[in-house]
């Protein structure tokens, strides 16, 4: 637990390096919701294979690292299906309407000192914190 922040920092640098490769190499902003969402609504079909290659890397790399990482992996995912479906819908709708999520607005936006990225990040963190306060501490359902 005490060394979690070191893993967080190392992982964070890897995430940012990925974003740097995507930006400097392909000239694109590495936003997970944009890369996925463009495939869903058809707006990104002109760059279909780039998106598929990116997502393939995202899915496969944890499987490669898994045997090297001698810590039990547990996602602690909730088993409440109503919460899962509601959360998934909210994340899908919200990220596409805001045109970005934690990677696009958070990582790529803040590092550019973009007002959009900073404002979006403040609002999604506040909204997330409010949900924890209400649903964990008041209603005690998550």
């Amino acid at each position: 637990m005490q060394i979690d922040w070191i893993w967080g920092l190392i992982g964070g640098v890897l995430i940012g390096t990925g974003g740097a490769v995507y930006l400097l190499g392909n000239g694109r902003i590495m936003g997970a919701s944009g890369i996925i969402g463009g495939l869903v609504d058809g707006s990104g079909w002109s760059t279909l294979w780039e998106r598929v290659a990116f997502l393939f890397g995202v899915v496969v790399m944890p499987l490669i690292l898994w045997p090297l990482y001698n810590v039990d992996i547990d996602t602690h995912m909730t088993s409440n299906w109503v919460v899962i479906v509601a959360a998934g819908l909210l994340v899908g709708i919200g990220t596409r309407i805001a045109n970005g999520c934690t990677s696009g607005h958070g990582v790529c936006g803040i590092s550019r000192f973009s007002l959009r990225g900073i404002v979006a990040t403040v609002f999604y963190i506040l909204a997330g914190g409010l949900m924890l306060a209400i649903f964990r501490h008041v209603l005690e359902v998550i």
């Binding site: 922040w5 290659a53 596409r96």
Partner: protein
Amino acid sequence: MRLLLSLLAGALFGGGLFISGMTDTTKVQGWLDVFGNWDPTLAFVMGGAILPMVLAWRLTEGRKPLAGGEFPALPRPELDHRLITGSVLFGMGWGLAGLCPGPAVASITYNGMGGLIFLAAMLVGMGAAPAVGRGLDRLAAPA
């Protein structure tokens, strides 16, 4: 070239999410849960990710992307109602499940049935988003 760079970026992104613990929903919810057992890990992940990106944005100045094309321009206007409403909706879902789009994809092979259902619901939400966005535009437009 573009495909290889995409694959490399995706691998770094997925590997980083895995190593940092961001596919563990308790770490994300722990960061958001200021009234509970608060976990600062997410701030280190964000900070660590922003560092190389600050450098990358500097390097874009006066250059072109390696694989051709142009670097993306900032959207104008910078702030609009969609940015705020969308971010609030996203934050609500993020807090409820502790998953955002990147980790939802990265953890798909080890997050069980719940992870699959979350991803399916997220894709449905993404499909519905253009229509929801147009509805919001009508609400926001002066009568």
